[in-house]
Symmetry: D4
Subunit: 249 residues, 8 copies
């Protein structure tokens, strides 16, 4: 139930077109959550900047395309995560403006290309971590944040990271993406005083246990100010960083 | 090596009191990190707002007292985490202004009581989670953030949480502290579009595995925008929230 | 060994047709379990309402078809769980009345379509959890329970759940199906005073560990009255809910 | 927000005493959850039969005593779980009618001693599992269910279990409490067609991993119709069984 | 119900002292498991050689003493495992012949001291594993097996093990007790062709995880013919070895 | 180093043909393990009865065939475990007498078909556990033990197990194969006083964790006398049971 | 920033061509890491002997080929690990001298074939462990170490290992590669006083948990002097052994 | 059997005092391992430099004192690890020269104070890790290595580590001791080309899981050349580093 409808009813009572009893009945009939629904939806839009999001796994290509098309009618930017080429082709067939970010596995319709003044720095360790870093970066960009990519600066060649210190310092919030042992988050945390979101990736083998090693590593980082998202959850990091970034606008 | 010393040397060269060769040797001898040291230290102060922090476990009461006293000479606010009464008494003996936050297990010397305009909301589930919530809240306050406590609003009585919706909406960033199954983070994440830092606590038994259950639960929260810190890490959540809060000042 | 036979023997002793020693030997020889066997079989039919069940994994399509056909001669309703289309075709070839529930992966022969007066509410979180929800729902229906489906009411959009409060209240027992962090069980547990069976699903990734996260979450649910079945065990939840539902008839 | 207040406002609009705009503002200001609050509270009492419950761990004896006294003013039966003698003495001091169930670790005030016609059967394996069995039994009794205790019938001496078959059959719902390998739940599940709630206990050592072994065992029970609660969660099993038992009254 | 009683009844029927109907009633009244009980008990005695066993944890000293005394009236040898001195004193007070094996933590009443011809070899790695080795050895001896102890022959000094080859070869079945990495079981398995029961102990630290390391090691032993019992389960190993040893008598 | 050679040398010293110093050097140079080598090989044949064994995983079909052929020249029975049809065809090409046990995944050349008088009972729970049961049974048979198969007697239909009590009692040693929750081992352990080797299988899903549930269950079995092998290790159980069985011949 | 540039500036100050203030600014502007960069690069070459290394997983064949070609212009030996034939063909197309080590899964360009005087002994347990042993051996050889392979000397046939004692004694450092239970590392550690690097492999099944069993086993080895690398990390062991081996040159 | 005895016998044969047959018998009677024993013992002394080691846990103070005294008669340096003051007092009572290293928990008798020319660098992260670092350092020193301590250089203040670069470069082999997330090992591995032994400590809380986090982190370190020992195993790291250090002497 939206505010306009409520206003219409209240005006109708004031105008004598609706008796209080009738209005009460109408209000009682309405599931009270409807009001909440509208609110949440409104919040929802704010929350993800200016985009609606579809999570692809477990949905058929046609389903994704249909939801994508529906959302495209309601909001300016739409994105689908964990998508593949097959899904993209279905979406493309109904929305020719949709584009596909291969590494990030994101299908997007980007009508609003405005960006924040403050930047989110996305730092990644190895080449293999890059697809998750891109998921975070592209997500943040679609939501409206400016993003600065600082890739391939793993701890094994720590000088490469340090040579990017000035660039890192110019960002408002940082996303650190690393697999293997995930030490990069700790090192970045020891260098700067920014909010840092650490993303463990499933890159590694053996006692890495599909990302458990960097996950535990990042949760135990002795540098304070680091928070962590799920293994390979570039999307979640992008959303969280965007929300934080917005606070500085 | 600080900037003043470097300046002195450069002036000495200009004045002919030092040959370039001698200066080069001096500079080469200096561990180049000294410069980094100063820088990092400076950052460090910024990073933790205006406080220096001591982590008590593994240190003897006298050691904590000595470090506390030393830091009190260098900075305005000093805090010691995971402290107990025995340690407090040792600190109190050398710094009579120190106070002890019992639930938060924090010893603090708070000379700078200024607070941010924006508020950090600290939401906790059960009574037993409160000590970790307090660790987060007190940490953020000592660092200089205004804090709003919303306690005892667990999912089992979900109406209590909803009745605080307006208060929650008035905060800039949220810390959600919960043990048991940690569902509170997901529910709060479904209600608001703020940056949310989830703190799993070790409250629970059996298949809770000392906080593993809420940790996994929070890392898998389907509501986006949630980031997570280590089990019982109220301090880390307080620092991270403070940094995010500062962005909005 | 049935009572009649025992009576016959005792009479034979009384009649002097059987010596006590011979009777003793006969009694010792009888596998006493035979009595149990009959009983259990009888119980078995009661237990699963009016259906016999085949678990497909590890059985060849022809084997399933043969068992299915055999059971169809003994009982009114027969079902095979975790079935695929290939198995269905084999069953269909010998029992043309068999039907296949695609999402639930259940092959069924339903001759008795009577339903209970009381309803089982099957609540599911995300789209991907639906196939397990359907396994629970179809199972309960084949056993004879009326089922009410309340799907796609995840915690991230909590208003959608609340708008179904009246429907949920009209059910006698609830099955809550959720993957990711499984918080839905806790939230439903906080809203109603029904018996609740929580089904964690393997939907998720990373630190979800194939359903471990929602399993632990549900086992630790702070709302009381919740019991849990194995990850993805929609069938087990359907059977348990049906048994509980029968108590109210 | 209650209905009367809403009616007053609508009448005031109709009477011209309140403009629609003012009313809209008032309505927006009202925390809509207030209505929910009352509802949930009402539900809450229903949910736990006729008792309010306090969970002791993490609360000081005085706190428990104070809450206990407060609840005793609102409801007929009150209970505190995981309590010890020290807490009991504090409660006893303010409520001389309170009694303490030593094995079950429950403090209770039982003014309403009515019991259901149907019985909950509480079956336990070893002597060491008995305290959790008692927690379940006492909980169910305080809530108002009749309880039938069938103790010390572990699988190692399986004949003892079978000799209680008739007693087990006379119950409406069963709680099976077992540590070690937890096989008792499977065996009971193979014998009867009742709803069964399995409670793994932390009794055992080594590869038992504090109850993990029976927990996994019970979740994987091949006998269908079994649902599981957290390790050592006798209370939760008691509540769930009572709710199920009520359906048959 | 024992065989004698049954015989008495059957004779009474034959003698006309009992009508078949009366007998049937008597038999029906008897829990049929009683027969089973007797049987199992009889088996039980055989099974554990000639001893009854009490598991102490979770029982009070007085309880143990009472059970011990009762069993002492029924069987020749009685033993209580995981006992401590306090329990022993209680038992000693009622049974002055009871003795206490300190390292093995076993209280025993040994009236039948006969031993098998074949020997069980108990091999242990380090000094700290000895208490579990003793639990196995004493158990086997009380049950009636001859035992040969080969202690302190860990893999780090592998020559000590090899120097005992002849002694090891003279045993019929082997128990290998080892903590740390548990490699001793594999090495013994590579040397002899006997049935080997491996007992992992909780001796170790860090990534030993309280016996998990040797448990996994022993389960994966590449030498075939090795079977494993629970961590620290010297008693279970003793019973199993005794049963195997009896086959060769 | 064999005894003859040693004797030769000692005689040479006595004959003055070899100085003590030279002999000492020779002795020191000899790898003392050579003696061990021969011994162990001899033991090896004894150990596996009368068969040599090849473990296929990680070996190419041609490699298996070549090793198989080589062993066929040295011993009467040869077997290859975890084999598939492709490997079998390669072996069959070089040894036309080789046969393939499909369910057991064993290729065998069986020239010696003699069997022990005593029987090994192989008991399995569900249909899906049968392939591991067959691996155990076929292994034991190739080694020379008589085997009695008792399949499909899971705990969910416990009467089927009990009806086989007499058959079970006629065996000398038992192998119990079960997946899901593995309760069958405990129940068999509660019925008989034989040595029991429990084999957990990876049959199950969700919180079964690929056999972890029955593995833990069996290790914690409260019935004593049970020992356990690795998940799905039918071969190991067969070897161990055969060795135990031999003791009774 | 290199030393020459710094010298130029200091001279310019002395010459009055640069004011101290300007110099200070220049120094502050320079990323101090540049110096570190050069150093680390130099170290890097030393570190891996005389080879550059590419880790293939997560890189496309063309990417590997391009990096390979680039490195071939800078250093004498280049290697790519975890490579397959497809990648090799791409590399071969641009560098015809490249060769492929099939078992080790390494592509290499070896222009410098010099070897150390001291040898690294690579000991492996089973046939299936050999590919990881080869990864270690080939890595060490490309880096410039002489390697001595001692394969197929598992603990189940311990005499084979002992017969190689002299060869093992002739090595300077040992790499022990073993899957299953990994006991080989302990046994070798009990025989020699060399630095030993243990490599657990993922060879095994069931409770091996993909290498967890030998990993824990090796970490808990009671023989001292053993250090461990990640599961299947032959490369890491090769590098570490080479570094240790160089110390003895 | 020592070499002297063997020589005596061979001489006796040569002298005709012993017939070859008698000698053969004597030799055959001797456990052949005795030779091995001597050898291993000899190796053992080499292996641990010039010290014998006693592991205290599981031994009584008197036992440690007795073993200590015995070893003091055979070798120059003796050490007991994981010792406490109570044990020390017992040792001190019999060996007044024994000293106690409080932090390292080592009792030592150091008669040979010679040190290697090359140094072992022991680097530790936090204050709480220092006791394990000391265990490693003291162990290496007692064995005869020169040790250089570089403490309190955690990743959170990374400049402190870098300022010690020259000192680190002067060492031959490095031991890196760190708890929390263990990132220090990776960072040191990125800076130098030395053999590095990483020691995870149990310092941390929550998702640290008593050292599991740094253990996994170190095993997955992306910088190559790092090997790992068990959690808190300072002693093992000291022994391994000493052996490596000796290669460079």
């Amino acid at each position: 139930m939206d505010k306009d409808l409520l206003e219409t009813w209240l005006n109708a009572i004031a105008a004598g077109e609706l008796t209080p009893a009738e209005a009460l009945e109408k209000l009682a009939d309405l599931p009270y959550q409807d009001l909440g629904f509208a609110k949440v939806d409104f919040h929802r839009k704010l929350r993800t900047g200016n985009a609606e999001v579809i999570y692809c796994p477990g949905k058929k290509p046609e389903q994704v395309a249909a939801i994508f098309q529906a959302l495209a009618g309601q909001t300016r930017n739409v994105m689908a995560t964990r998508a593949n080429l097959r899904i993209y082709r279905k979406v493309k067939a109904v929305l020719s403006d949709a584009c596909y970010f291969d590494q990030a596995r994101i299908i997007a319709l980007i009508r609003d290309q405005s960006r924040t003044a403050g930047k989110i720095g996305v730092i990644s360790a190895g080449t293999a971590d890059q697809r998750i870093a891109e998921e975070a970066a592209i997500t943040a960009e679609i939501l409206g944040s400016a993003v600065c990519r600082i890739y391939d600066v793993g701890v094994a060649g720590i000088h490469r990271l340090f040579s990017q210190k000035a660039v890192i310092d110019s960002c408002r919030v940082l996303i650190v993406v690393a697999g293997m042992e995930g030490a990069l988050a700790s090192v970045v945390g020891g260098l700067v005083d920014k909010p840092i979101i650490a993303v463990p990736t499933s890159v590694g083998y053996g006692a890495n246990f599909k990302g458990l090693a960097p996950l535990l590593s990042m949760l135990n980082a002795c540098a304070s100010g680091i928070t962590v998202v799920n293994i390979d959850n570039g999307f979640g990091a992008g959303v969280a960083a965007h929300r934080i970034n917005l606070l500085g606008e």
